[in-house]
Amino acid sequence: MLVGYVIAVALSWRYEWIAYPYVTLTMGAAILPDLNRIELALPASTIETVLGIPWSWVPLHRVSGTLLIVCLGSLLAPTRLRRRVFALLAVGATSHYTLDLMLYKPSGLSGPFLWPLTDHRFAIEGIYLSSDRWPALVMITIAAAVWYLDRRRARANGEASVDGSTTDNTAE
Protein backbone atom coordinates (compact mmCIF):
# COMPACT_ATOMS: atom_id res chain seq x y z
CA MET A 1 0.00 0.00 0.00
CA LEU A 2 2.77 2.43 0.94
CA VAL A 3 4.57 1.51 -2.25
CA GLY A 4 1.40 2.47 -4.13
CA TYR A 5 1.41 5.77 -2.25
CA VAL A 6 5.02 6.51 -3.08
CA ILE A 7 4.60 5.62 -6.75
CA ALA A 8 1.42 7.68 -7.12
CA VAL A 9 2.79 10.77 -5.40
CA ALA A 10 5.99 10.55 -7.43
CA LEU A 11 3.96 10.17 -10.62
CA SER A 12 1.88 13.19 -9.63
CA TRP A 13 5.02 15.33 -9.89
CA ARG A 14 5.12 14.42 -13.56
CA TYR A 15 1.38 14.05 -14.26
CA GLU A 16 -0.58 16.96 -12.85
CA TRP A 17 -3.92 15.14 -12.97
CA ILE A 18 -2.89 12.62 -10.32
CA ALA A 19 -4.66 14.18 -7.33
CA TYR A 20 -5.58 12.91 -3.85
CA PRO A 21 -8.34 10.44 -4.91
CA TYR A 22 -6.05 8.91 -7.51
CA VAL A 23 -3.32 8.35 -4.95
CA THR A 24 -5.87 6.42 -2.86
CA LEU A 25 -6.79 4.45 -5.97
CA THR A 26 -3.19 3.38 -6.54
CA MET A 27 -2.78 2.48 -2.86
CA GLY A 28 -5.91 0.34 -3.03
CA ALA A 29 -4.75 -1.35 -6.23
CA ALA A 30 -1.50 -2.28 -4.50
CA ILE A 31 -3.43 -4.58 -2.16
CA LEU A 32 -5.99 -5.69 -4.74
CA PRO A 33 -4.52 -9.22 -5.17
CA ASP A 34 -5.05 -9.75 -1.43
CA LEU A 35 -8.79 -9.79 -2.14
CA ASN A 36 -8.21 -13.55 -2.05
CA ARG A 37 -8.50 -13.16 1.75
CA ILE A 38 -12.24 -13.19 1.08
CA GLU A 39 -11.64 -16.90 1.70
CA LEU A 40 -11.48 -16.11 5.42
CA ALA A 41 -14.93 -14.52 5.36
CA LEU A 42 -16.58 -16.65 2.70
CA PRO A 43 -14.71 -19.95 2.21
CA ALA A 44 -14.78 -21.39 -1.28
CA SER A 45 -15.94 -24.69 0.21
CA THR A 46 -19.12 -22.97 1.42
CA ILE A 47 -19.84 -21.77 -2.12
CA GLU A 48 -19.13 -25.24 -3.48
CA THR A 49 -21.63 -26.69 -1.02
CA VAL A 50 -24.31 -24.09 -1.71
CA LEU A 51 -23.96 -23.87 -5.50
CA GLY A 52 -22.77 -27.43 -6.13
CA ILE A 53 -19.99 -26.25 -8.49
CA PRO A 54 -16.22 -26.19 -8.03
CA TRP A 55 -14.95 -22.87 -6.70
CA SER A 56 -11.68 -21.29 -5.65
CA TRP A 57 -10.75 -17.72 -4.77
CA VAL A 58 -7.12 -18.27 -5.75
CA PRO A 59 -7.53 -16.48 -9.15
CA LEU A 60 -7.91 -13.19 -7.26
CA HIS A 61 -4.21 -13.51 -6.54
CA ARG A 62 -3.33 -14.34 -10.13
CA VAL A 63 -2.63 -11.78 -12.86
CA SER A 64 -5.70 -12.91 -14.82
CA GLY A 65 -8.14 -12.36 -11.96
CA THR A 66 -6.54 -9.09 -10.93
CA LEU A 67 -6.77 -7.81 -14.51
CA LEU A 68 -10.50 -8.53 -14.53
CA ILE A 69 -10.93 -6.74 -11.20
CA VAL A 70 -8.99 -3.78 -12.63
CA CYS A 71 -11.33 -3.78 -15.65
CA LEU A 72 -14.35 -3.89 -13.33
CA GLY A 73 -12.95 -1.01 -11.30
CA SER A 74 -12.33 1.04 -14.43
CA LEU A 75 -15.87 0.41 -15.63
CA LEU A 76 -17.24 1.76 -12.34
CA ALA A 77 -15.51 5.08 -13.01
CA PRO A 78 -17.03 7.79 -15.22
CA THR A 79 -16.22 7.27 -18.90
CA ARG A 80 -13.94 10.30 -19.14
CA LEU A 81 -11.78 9.08 -16.23
CA ARG A 82 -11.69 5.45 -17.26
CA ARG A 83 -8.24 5.39 -18.85
CA ARG A 84 -6.68 7.15 -15.88
CA VAL A 85 -8.37 4.83 -13.39
CA PHE A 86 -7.31 1.78 -15.40
CA ALA A 87 -3.72 2.99 -15.66
CA LEU A 88 -3.34 3.66 -11.95
CA LEU A 89 -5.09 0.45 -10.90
CA ALA A 90 -2.72 -1.45 -13.18
CA VAL A 91 0.31 0.37 -11.78
CA GLY A 92 -0.73 -0.39 -8.19
CA ALA A 93 -1.49 -4.05 -8.88
CA THR A 94 1.81 -4.46 -10.74
CA SER A 95 3.65 -3.14 -7.69
CA HIS A 96 2.02 -5.90 -5.62
CA TYR A 97 3.20 -8.68 -7.93
CA THR A 98 6.64 -7.11 -8.19
CA LEU A 99 6.97 -7.17 -4.40
CA ASP A 100 5.63 -10.72 -4.26
CA LEU A 101 8.48 -11.77 -6.53
CA MET A 102 10.84 -10.49 -3.82
CA LEU A 103 9.27 -12.67 -1.09
CA TYR A 104 11.40 -15.37 0.47
CA LYS A 105 9.95 -18.85 -0.10
CA PRO A 106 11.46 -22.07 1.24
CA SER A 107 10.85 -23.62 -2.19
CA GLY A 108 12.54 -20.72 -3.98
CA LEU A 109 9.58 -20.63 -6.36
CA SER A 110 6.82 -18.07 -6.76
CA GLY A 111 3.18 -19.06 -7.04
CA PRO A 112 1.94 -19.74 -10.58
CA PHE A 113 0.97 -16.09 -11.08
CA LEU A 114 0.25 -16.45 -14.78
CA TRP A 115 -2.37 -19.17 -14.30
CA PRO A 116 -4.42 -20.21 -16.29
CA LEU A 117 -2.12 -19.37 -19.21
CA THR A 118 0.71 -21.37 -17.71
CA ASP A 119 1.46 -22.97 -14.34
CA HIS A 120 5.07 -21.83 -14.59
CA ARG A 121 6.53 -20.78 -11.25
CA PHE A 122 9.33 -18.27 -11.26
CA ALA A 123 12.55 -19.00 -9.41
CA ILE A 124 12.85 -16.33 -6.75
CA GLU A 125 15.54 -15.69 -4.20
CA GLY A 126 13.48 -13.51 -1.94
CA ILE A 127 14.66 -11.03 0.61
CA TYR A 128 11.72 -10.69 2.99
CA LEU A 129 8.77 -12.45 4.63
CA SER A 130 5.29 -10.95 4.85
CA SER A 131 5.62 -11.18 8.63
CA ASP A 132 8.92 -9.26 8.75
CA ARG A 133 8.76 -5.84 10.38
CA TRP A 134 11.53 -4.07 8.52
CA PRO A 135 9.79 -3.79 5.10
CA ALA A 136 7.01 -1.74 6.70
CA LEU A 137 9.53 0.41 8.56
CA VAL A 138 11.49 1.05 5.38
CA MET A 139 8.35 1.93 3.45
CA ILE A 140 7.01 4.20 6.21
CA THR A 141 10.30 6.08 6.08
CA ILE A 142 10.26 6.40 2.29
CA ALA A 143 6.56 7.36 2.27
CA ALA A 144 7.17 10.02 4.92
CA ALA A 145 10.06 11.40 2.87
CA VAL A 146 7.93 11.48 -0.28
CA TRP A 147 5.09 13.15 1.63
CA TYR A 148 7.47 15.83 2.88
CA LEU A 149 9.04 16.36 -0.56
CA ASP A 150 5.60 16.67 -2.10
CA ARG A 151 4.60 19.38 0.39
CA ARG A 152 7.80 21.28 -0.12
CA ARG A 153 7.49 21.06 -3.84
CA ALA A 154 3.87 22.23 -3.69
CA ARG A 155 4.78 25.19 -1.47
CA ALA A 156 7.61 26.19 -3.78
CA ASN A 157 5.29 26.11 -6.78
CA GLY A 158 2.46 27.77 -4.89
CA GLU A 159 0.08 24.95 -5.66
CA ALA A 160 -1.74 22.20 -3.85
CA SER A 161 0.23 19.23 -2.65
CA VAL A 162 -1.17 16.02 -4.02
CA ASP A 163 -1.67 14.49 -0.65
CA GLY A 164 -1.47 17.16 1.95
CA SER A 165 -4.11 19.33 3.45
CA THR A 166 -4.64 21.46 0.41
CA THR A 167 -7.52 21.20 -1.97
CA ASP A 168 -7.42 19.00 -4.99
CA ASN A 169 -9.95 20.17 -7.46
CA THR A 170 -11.32 17.59 -9.75
CA ALA A 171 -12.95 19.67 -12.40
CA GLU A 172 -16.24 18.30 -13.49
Binding site: M1, E16, W17, A19, Y20, P21, T24, M27, G28, I31, R37, E39, L40, P43, S45, I53, P54, W55, S56, W57, V58, P59, R62, G65, L68, I69, C71, L72, L75, A77, P78, R80, L81, K105, P106, S107, G108, G111, P112, W115, P116, D119, R121, L129, S131, D132, A136, A154, R155, G158, E159, A160, V162, G164, S165, T166, T167, N169, T170, A171
Partner: protein, 179 residues
Protein backbone atom coordinates in the same frame (compact mmCIF):
# COMPACT_ATOMS: atom_id res chain seq x y z
CA UNK B 1 -27.35 5.63 -24.24
CA UNK B 2 -25.33 3.27 -26.33
CA UNK B 3 -22.39 3.79 -24.00
CA UNK B 4 -24.55 2.99 -20.96
CA UNK B 5 -25.62 -0.29 -22.53
CA UNK B 6 -22.06 -1.02 -23.57
CA UNK B 7 -20.89 -0.41 -20.04
CA UNK B 8 -23.41 -2.84 -18.56
CA UNK B 9 -22.43 -5.44 -21.15
CA UNK B 10 -18.74 -4.93 -20.40
CA UNK B 11 -19.36 -5.20 -16.65
CA UNK B 12 -21.35 -8.38 -17.23
CA UNK B 13 -18.61 -9.90 -19.37
CA UNK B 14 -15.98 -9.13 -16.70
CA UNK B 15 -18.12 -10.64 -13.94
CA UNK B 16 -18.80 -13.76 -16.03
CA UNK B 17 -15.12 -14.18 -16.89
CA UNK B 18 -14.15 -13.75 -13.26
CA UNK B 19 -16.76 -16.28 -12.14
CA UNK B 20 -15.46 -18.60 -14.84
CA UNK B 21 -11.96 -18.28 -13.46
CA UNK B 22 -13.17 -19.16 -9.94
CA UNK B 23 -14.92 -22.26 -11.25
CA UNK B 24 -11.94 -23.28 -13.43
CA UNK B 25 -9.63 -22.84 -10.45
CA UNK B 26 -11.96 -24.89 -8.26
CA UNK B 27 -11.93 -27.65 -10.86
CA UNK B 28 -8.14 -27.41 -11.22
CA UNK B 29 -8.36 -26.86 -14.96
CA UNK B 30 -6.14 -26.57 -16.98
CA UNK B 31 -3.87 -26.85 -13.95
CA UNK B 32 -4.43 -26.21 -10.26
CA UNK B 33 -3.91 -22.51 -9.54
CA UNK B 34 -2.12 -23.31 -6.28
CA UNK B 35 1.55 -23.89 -5.68
CA UNK B 36 0.86 -27.47 -4.61
CA UNK B 37 -1.59 -29.80 -2.90
CA UNK B 38 -3.66 -28.33 -0.08
CA UNK B 39 -3.02 -30.56 2.93
CA UNK B 40 -5.53 -28.61 4.96
CA UNK B 41 -8.18 -30.66 3.16
CA UNK B 42 -8.66 -33.86 5.18
CA UNK B 43 -9.39 -35.81 1.98
CA UNK B 44 -6.04 -34.78 0.49
CA UNK B 45 -3.74 -37.52 1.71
CA UNK B 46 -0.01 -36.65 1.89
CA UNK B 47 1.03 -40.23 1.04
CA UNK B 48 -0.72 -39.88 -2.35
CA UNK B 49 1.96 -37.38 -3.25
CA UNK B 50 4.94 -39.60 -2.40
CA UNK B 51 8.07 -38.41 -4.16
CA UNK B 52 6.64 -35.00 -4.92
CA UNK B 53 8.31 -31.79 -3.95
CA UNK B 54 6.01 -29.50 -1.98
CA UNK B 55 6.04 -26.36 0.09
CA UNK B 56 3.62 -26.12 2.98
CA UNK B 57 3.33 -24.64 6.41
CA UNK B 58 1.43 -24.60 9.65
CA UNK B 59 1.52 -24.43 13.40
CA UNK B 60 3.78 -26.85 15.28
CA UNK B 61 1.60 -29.14 17.41
CA UNK B 62 4.25 -31.72 18.41
CA UNK B 63 8.05 -31.75 18.36
CA UNK B 64 9.16 -35.38 18.65
CA UNK B 65 8.69 -35.93 15.80
CA UNK B 66 7.65 -32.50 14.55
CA UNK B 67 4.04 -32.44 13.41
CA UNK B 68 2.50 -29.32 11.92
CA UNK B 69 -1.16 -28.47 11.71
CA UNK B 70 -1.84 -27.39 8.13
CA UNK B 71 -5.07 -25.45 8.11
CA UNK B 72 -7.14 -23.13 6.00
CA UNK B 73 -10.23 -21.25 7.04
CA UNK B 74 -12.39 -24.34 7.45
CA UNK B 75 -10.36 -27.54 7.57
CA UNK B 76 -7.14 -28.83 9.09
CA UNK B 77 -4.80 -31.81 8.96
CA UNK B 78 -1.62 -32.82 10.80
CA UNK B 79 1.55 -33.43 8.76
CA UNK B 80 4.70 -35.06 10.22
CA UNK B 81 7.97 -33.36 9.26
CA UNK B 82 11.38 -35.01 9.15
CA UNK B 83 14.54 -32.86 9.27
CA UNK B 84 12.51 -29.99 10.67
CA UNK B 85 14.36 -26.96 11.99
CA UNK B 86 14.53 -26.47 15.78
CA UNK B 87 11.05 -25.43 16.77
CA UNK B 88 8.74 -25.25 19.75
CA UNK B 89 5.07 -26.11 19.97
CA UNK B 90 3.03 -23.07 18.97
CA UNK B 91 5.55 -21.70 16.48
CA UNK B 92 4.68 -21.54 12.82
CA UNK B 93 6.86 -23.05 10.14
CA UNK B 94 7.00 -22.98 6.37
CA UNK B 95 8.92 -25.90 4.94
CA UNK B 96 9.90 -27.19 1.55
CA UNK B 97 10.66 -30.83 0.97
CA UNK B 98 9.80 -34.19 -0.51
CA UNK B 99 6.94 -36.44 0.60
CA UNK B 100 7.54 -40.09 1.49
CA UNK B 101 5.10 -42.99 0.90
CA UNK B 102 4.08 -42.88 4.59
CA UNK B 103 3.03 -39.25 4.28
CA UNK B 104 5.99 -37.61 6.01
CA UNK B 105 7.59 -34.52 4.56
CA UNK B 106 11.38 -34.67 4.48
CA UNK B 107 12.19 -31.01 4.78
CA UNK B 108 15.19 -28.98 3.79
CA UNK B 109 15.96 -27.38 7.18
CA UNK B 110 18.30 -24.77 5.68
CA UNK B 111 15.50 -23.11 3.78
CA UNK B 112 12.72 -23.56 6.33
CA UNK B 113 11.12 -20.56 8.00
CA UNK B 114 10.11 -20.69 11.67
CA UNK B 115 8.33 -17.76 13.24
CA UNK B 116 6.51 -16.85 16.41
CA UNK B 117 2.70 -16.67 16.39
CA UNK B 118 2.81 -12.92 17.11
CA UNK B 119 4.69 -12.35 13.85
CA UNK B 120 1.74 -13.71 11.91
CA UNK B 121 -0.61 -11.65 14.06
CA UNK B 122 1.47 -8.57 13.25
CA UNK B 123 1.14 -9.37 9.54
CA UNK B 124 -2.65 -9.52 9.77
CA UNK B 125 -2.94 -6.45 12.00
CA UNK B 126 -0.82 -4.27 9.72
CA UNK B 127 -2.76 -5.52 6.67
CA UNK B 128 -6.05 -4.67 8.38
CA UNK B 129 -4.64 -1.26 9.24
CA UNK B 130 -3.77 -0.72 5.57
CA UNK B 131 -7.29 -1.67 4.53
CA UNK B 132 -8.74 0.82 7.04
CA UNK B 133 -6.53 3.65 5.77
CA UNK B 134 -7.49 2.96 2.17
CA UNK B 135 -11.18 2.65 3.03
CA UNK B 136 -11.03 5.93 4.93
CA UNK B 137 -9.24 7.75 2.13
CA UNK B 138 -11.59 6.15 -0.40
CA UNK B 139 -14.70 7.45 1.32
CA UNK B 140 -12.96 10.78 1.84
CA UNK B 141 -12.01 11.26 -1.79
CA UNK B 142 -14.59 9.36 -3.83
CA UNK B 143 -18.36 9.45 -4.02
CA UNK B 144 -21.14 7.46 -5.58
CA UNK B 145 -22.76 9.35 -8.43
CA UNK B 146 -26.30 8.00 -8.30
CA UNK B 147 -27.38 9.60 -11.57
CA UNK B 148 -24.54 8.16 -13.59
CA UNK B 149 -24.17 5.04 -11.42
CA UNK B 150 -20.44 5.58 -11.19
CA UNK B 151 -17.80 6.12 -8.54
CA UNK B 152 -16.29 9.52 -9.11
CA UNK B 153 -13.70 11.68 -7.31
CA UNK B 154 -15.16 14.30 -4.95
CA UNK B 155 -14.47 17.89 -5.93
CA UNK B 156 -13.53 18.53 -2.32
CA UNK B 157 -12.51 15.61 -0.11
CA UNK B 158 -14.69 15.27 2.98
CA UNK B 159 -11.88 16.06 5.41
CA UNK B 160 -11.45 19.48 3.81
CA UNK B 161 -15.14 20.19 3.69
CA UNK B 162 -15.78 19.32 7.33
CA UNK B 163 -12.49 20.09 8.98
CA UNK B 164 -12.33 23.41 7.15
CA UNK B 165 -8.77 23.60 5.95
CA UNK B 166 -9.03 27.29 5.05
CA UNK B 167 -5.34 28.01 5.34
CA UNK B 168 -4.82 25.99 2.25
CA UNK B 169 -7.26 27.86 0.06
CA UNK B 170 -4.77 30.51 -0.92
CA UNK B 171 -2.46 27.84 -2.24
CA UNK B 172 -5.13 26.11 -4.17
CA UNK B 173 -4.91 25.80 -7.87
CA UNK B 174 -6.93 23.87 -10.33
CA UNK B 175 -4.74 20.81 -10.54
CA UNK B 176 -7.06 18.66 -12.43
CA UNK B 177 -7.80 19.89 -15.89
CA UNK B 178 -10.18 17.16 -16.74
CA UNK B 179 -12.69 19.09 -18.72
Amino acid sequence: MATAVGRVVALGVCVLLLGGLFVLAGAGYPAPPNSGPDFAEPDVSPDDFAGEHVETGGEVIATDPVVIDVDDSTTTQGLPIENAPDVRVGQEVIVDGTLTPDGTLIANPDRAVAREPWETTYMYVISAFAVLIIAGRGIDGWRLDRDMRTLTPRETPLHQRYLGDHTADSLTEQRDSDA
